[in-house]
Symmetry: C2
Subunit: 672 residues, 2 copies
């Protein structure tokens, strides 16, 4: 924690820095692929961070008291792997030698869950920046809930390295503005300003005054030459001393520092130096040409000493925690709830048993269910991208997070869907089950971060309302068409579109149970009738993704399969079809993905083989062929929406019971 | 054009402003839906823009010399409709009375192509901002190509109104940074700083110093109270005088100005004032309570006079154009090529006839074809989001756009996919056929703008490389899985994934021919073999989205349908299947969408009914059921990728000829 140089001689420090540099160079050479330039340029900064600033504990990588490090510039992954190796994490040299090989612990970009010590998956630029803001926010929120005068288990800092590319991305701009707004003084990012992007000098496209921009966001901004360790340490000291504002240290660096011909060039960004240039760099910096992956004993010793010092911090922290637990049982209980993100084992059943009844928009049902979910799960926190009055996603009886006041459970993210989503991912990594809300169409704005929640297997709940053309007057710019289909196509993303109160309760119940991935709940703007269910209905069916809502009296001529707002429409159409002598079954299928994952017995009970099937969903028909089959009919909307009142939209797109029934009857009258 | 008040008395001006204000109020009341607050607050600014700054010609709305106006805050659409009506565009009061009704010319948000005078579709926040940057850039590029000392047909200005929400969105940050970088002095935006967002005071989430941020981007920043017309005029004069930097006039306004109870509140943002408050506002501002939709004669007269003055400008412009055409035939010819975005009628055939041959990555073929396309189409311009060395999308022999040098055809967009895409939409509206490039995975970053190119039916070419897990070492953060499926699901978006040189040429040929919508071309990083085609192959088949590449000697037991890099894989697997006594047809299907749009005769020729079918695509299988049918097999990748060298990835995911052939043989051995 001290920022004083701990009496280590300068030559040893330089050897340590060069060890980092050449571990990266050698790994990239061995892989014949990777990004050597960034680690070579930022080795000094990384050295300083790991030896003087970061608190960590390799033997307990999930230690809640650790400082977090986020490599937003994920392409520089070898810098992080080198540091994790040297710091004593379970990442042996053998793994560094398998850089970018199948199933190694050293993939091309850092992946959360693959490599111990990697705090978040980065690579898509700007995401790590947003995650870091979320992590810093989580710390502040843990502190606000749990700290006592003697001890604050939530307190830690979030460090990171961000690149030119990160700072060009809009998602980072959005997150930076929020970090400044919230005054996240525990966030300390170093900006690797190497003036090189893939196409060449950043001056080709990036000539803004970044420092001034961040000051405008309310950040503290420092400057240093990245190769001048004393200057970097001064800037980091200033950042460390700042507690009211997030800090950006602009570290002007030389990409591929030390490579005689490629330093400072775009050629050093994304490909190996080549054997010759790698050797030349070693010679230039006085590094032994052999062996590759050299870690001198004294360098290893330096990190061992650092680990020992950190171990004392760690032990002290645990001693304090123990005293604090004893003195503050209530806070300790809350702490465990938060850090473990606890959900009661019967959460699903309780939400379903208390489901809101009656006719309403599912967004209104969602609001009612959210209040219950929030009562069951203290770790549940969330907010909207400036649409809460429409999404109805505030937790009642709690305040909103603001600068200096982090005790609330609600957020105002502003009109920043992408920043919100990246911050939610960070919150989920920092000790909460976060949810975020907007209109379904605006998932498009947040898609890269939504995808990362699925890739990282994080429990994030995405609540998106106004889920079809039936939002009406706002028109095609606001009306989702392909969004449901394209969200369902994301691996490990569970999409649920409930049809009424009980299905909305079940959706939230499943979202709370789902520990290894995100759940997206799509809700209506418009009112829906309450569905009638057969006496035989069992709530456990709501876990199956699809179930029979209605069996006709006579043997079914057709099965109608619908989601969300189209389930009541299908039920109404079924009555009309019955009256035409075409008995119709109705299946409610809030999640086709979940349904397809059921065993064959359930699937065939719901969709008996051979029957004629019609899907009804007010959106793209893409994906429904899998459900209705080749002989089936997929009723949907494969064109853009229209601006008009609800009733006109329903007529125009043919989504009325009459029109649906007529269309199905016509279709049934033709040979299959 | 003068910024002096043209001798109009202040009372008349005030009546004109109130006319604007109450046209919006009355329309929203009549629709029972809409956003009255913004037009009420910005009526003064709009009045000034339309009467003193903007050059336009309602009788010739496509006049190239007109100034463009972009309402990035698209929810304030009634402000724009009121102005277009008053200015004399073909938008009668009857249409204002049909605000937000089906098939009106006054949809909820402004839609390009629906309403004459609407320059771009807005509503999703931040998009209009990016479009405005693209429009301003297009003007500078037209000027650089066509201006002579006597006359510059490309010169015009781009005005716009942006909201708090626009400026929170990352896409606007990205575009603003580029506008400053390029020094777009013809861009003049007014920021409606009304301090109100949907969730309440913007101070809830937006406390940054916007003016300072824009100065950091290199913008000129001015300030005025939006209700103080003299102050606004001074700020707009300063903006008009600035030619080296884009301008932002921060206009502090009162949302719903004049409404006694709702002014300055979030309640006035997105819903009608209500009859009582609307009447109270009229009383407060001394406006007649009846009739609704009142346009006093003298106010109409004021705009008629303005139209007459503008008509003189317009006539003078055309006279100058005529002289210029006569004196500069070469420039005039280029001008027509650009403004009409001309493509030779035989462009497709020429590109296909000269298609690159031999084995190569399709990104390399793409580079070769691009050079030919650029030679055929002077309007073709484009660039990449800092990945050109990888996407290989530069036009050779031309320079890149930079501040003060707009003659080039290439852009450096920096790592700003979303800003790039919104700017490309603006360029397409301003006289070019733009293309933009990045990796396929990063379509996620640009998706809202890509969607708008489809909704607006604009000819934008999206070139995305590294189109599958076979990009290899960069790993799952960079490997597209669901992207092809979800892009194909966007209405009016043509996605083409070519398999070799001739298919790449055809993809570009189709993209150049497609005037009413965007085309996305997905290209490989890795090398592919050159395909062998039967002697009977006719290039016109490349227009069909799918065609038979290989007929087996014996009657086919199975048809393999593949796209892009999997076509050669399918062909190799077919040879193996043949040798196992399972004769296999191979269909190359670069665009399933285009194939499904063909007549039944073609479809059945390519995919004879009843045959067993297998699709092979290294991505999500979503959507392929429609092609292979219920009895078919969709081979794809429905999970996230891995970081590893190409060969390991191919083995791991089973995408080798051996594994594919074995899997298909096994599948065929089971009953259908």
């Amino acid at each position: 924690m001290t920022t004083q140089a701990p009496g280590i001689d300068a030559a040893l420090e330089q050897r340590a820095v060069n060890t980092i540099r050449f571990l990266a160079v050698d790994a990239v050479e061995q892989a014949k692929s990777g990004h050597p330039g960034m680690p070579m340029g930022m080795a000094d900064v990384a050295y300083l961070l790991w030896t003087r600033y970061l608190r960590y504990q390799p033997q307990d990588p999930a230690w809640p008291g650790r400082d977090r490090f986020v490599l937003s510039a994920g392409h520089g992954s070898m810098l992080l792997y080198a540091m994790l190796h040297l710091a004593g994490y379970d990442l042996p040299l053998e793994e560094l030698k398998r850089f970018r090989r199948l199933k190694s612990r050293t993939p091309g970009h850092p992946e959360y869950g693959v490599t111990v010590g990697v705090e978040t998956t980065t690579g898509p630029l700007g995401q790590g920046f947003g995650n870091a803001v979320g992590l810093a926010l989580a710390s502040r929120m843990l502190s606000a809930r749990c700290a006592t005068p003697e001890f604050d288990p939530g307190a830690h800092r979030v460090f990171g390295i961000v690149s030119d590319g990160d700072l060009m991305e809009g998602v980072a701009s959005e997150a930076a503005s929020l970090a400044g707004h919230w005054g996240l003084g525990n966030l300390k990012l170093v900006y690797d300003q190497n003036h090189i992007s893939i196409e060449g000098d950043t001056a080709l496209a990036f000539t803004e005054d970044v420092g001034k921009r961040f000051e405008a966001y309310g950040w503290q901004v420092g400057h240093a030459n990245a190769q001048d360790r004393a200057a970097v340490a001064r800037a980091l000291d200033a950042a460390a001393a700042e507690t009211a504002r997030p800090s950006l240290v602009i570290a002007t660096s030389t990409i591929a520092y030390g490579a005689p011909h490629k330093a400072g060039t775009a050629a050093a960004h994304g490909e190996p130096l080549g054997a010759e240039e790698a050797l030349a760099a070693k010679r230039a910096l006085g590094w032994p040409e052999q062996p590759a992956f050299l870690v001198p004993d004294d360098v290893r010793g330096l990190f061992t000493e650092r680990a020992a010092a950190l171990r004392r911090d760690y032990d002290a922290w645990h001693a304090a925690l123990k005293r604090w637990r004893a003195a503050h049982a209530d806070r300790a209980a809350l702490w465990d709830q938060l850090v473990e993100r606890r959900v009661p084992p019967d959460g699903f059943e309780r939400l379903v048993a208390n489901a809101p009844a009656g006719p309403a928009a599912t967004r209104a049902h969602g609001n009612a269910v959210l209040q219950q979910a929030a009562a069951l799960v203290p770790a549940l926190v969330g907010g909207a991208a400036d649409l809460e009055p429409s999404t109805r996603t505030a937790i009642k009886g709690s305040t909103a997070i603001q600068r200096g006041d982090f005790v609330g459970r609600n957020f105002h993210f502003g009109v920043r869907e992408h920043g919100m989503a990246a911050i939610l991912n960070g919150l989920s990594l920092g000790g909460f089950i976060p949810y975020g809300a907007s209109f379904l169409i605006f998932t498009d704005y947040a898609r890269p971060a939504i995808r990362l929640s699925a890739l990282m297997r994080r429990q994030v709940v995405w609540v998106f309302t106004h889920d079809s053309v039936f939002l009406g007057e706002d028109g095609p710019t606001h009306e989702p068409i392909e969004q449901l289909a394209s969200l369902r196509a994301i691996p490990n993303m569970l999409v649920i579109r409930p049809a009424d109160g009980i299905e909305t309760a079940a959706a939230w119940g499943l979202a709370l149970e789902r520990r290894d991935g995100p759940t997206l709940i799509a809700l209506t703007r418009q009112n829906l009738p309450a569905l009638e269910r057969p006496a035989s209905f069992e709530p456990a069916a709501l876990r199956r993704g699809g179930y029979v809502l209605r069996e006709p009296a006579a043997s079914a001529a057709v099965t109608l399969i619908a989601t969300g707002s189209e389930v009541s429409l299908a039920a109404a159409a079924a009555v009309l079809l019955d009256s035409r002598g075409l008995p119709a079954r109705v299946v409610s299928m809030p999640s086709p993905q979940l349904f397809l994952a059921q065993d064959a017995a359930w699937r065939e009970r719901v969709l008996p083989p051979g029957g004629r099937r019609v899907s009804i969903e007010a959106g793209s028909t893409v994906g429904w062929d899998r459900i209705v089959g080749e002989r089936g009919l997929a009723i949907g909307i494969d064109r853009f929406g229209e601006s008009a009142p609800l009733a006109e939209i329903q007529q125009h797109f043919g989504f009325t019971p009459d029109k649906i029934a007529a269309r199905i009857a016509d279709w049934l009258s033709k040979p299959a």
